[in-house]
Amino acid sequence: MTGEYLLEGLAVPESLNLLHDLLERVGSEHPDIDAGDLMLFETAVIEVAGNVVEHGRPSGRVSWTFHLSVHSDRLEARLSDSGEEYPGGTWGTSMPKDPMQEDGRGLALATAVLDDLDYERTGDVNHWTMLRRRG
């Protein structure tokens, strides 16, 4: 079974719970999705979205559109935000060396659980695409 989901809003911490709720809905409407796949995909979505909440500028005034597609072989999501451009490359995608460091794991964690994480800037919009193949 396939399906499409859309959520629009402001990139603020409270919006993360709306994303969680959406992912829960995806799970209940697609019981064929492996619970482990969905759990890891949700982990990645929340980390990427959390990164936008934390680093999106101007803080508290960045809006976003989240689009999720359920395919027979993969879960795919695109988070588009109106914030300023992010530094590109492999920034933030490796785990901190110091285990006692309190932050800096978000994108590294997302990278670890996704088959593909991509960032691109088009015009005034940042696009984060996330893909996880279904087991």
Partner: protein, 105 residues
């Protein structure tokens, strides 16, 4: 058995960017009140993100600086997976139950 210097904290639901700051404050207040051995019962946590992990690491540092320690117990699957993926399972060892975590400090 626990003693007066041991506290058991039980966060519930999603330990994410929304809930992590309050949890971090709770740990700091607990340490400031003299309870420097903290067991975090994660049995009711449905999801953790890197902010939640940061709050646990912050608590680990706060308790150790005060001569105590922080342990985690009854760790759900998503939390355990995230701990492994971030290699934090090496610094936050999971105990099966709160009772297991509450002795031999």
């Amino acid at each position: 058995m626990t003693d007066t210097s041991t506290a058991v904290l039980q966060p519930t639901g999603r330990l994410n960017m929304v809930a992590a700051p309050a949890f971090k404050n709770l740990v700091e207040e607990t340490v400031a009140s003299g309870q420097t051995r903290i067991v975090v019962d994660l049995g009711q946590v449905t999801f953790i993100d890197s902010s939640g992990l940061g709050a646990l690491i912050s608590g680990l540092k706060a308790t150790r600086q005060a001569g105590g320690d922080l342990r985690i117990a009854d760790v759900p699957e998503q939390v355990m997976t995230v701990l492994r993926l971030t290699n934090l399972d090496r610094v936050l060892r999971a105990h099966a139950t709160v009772v297991d975590a509450s002795h031999d400090w």
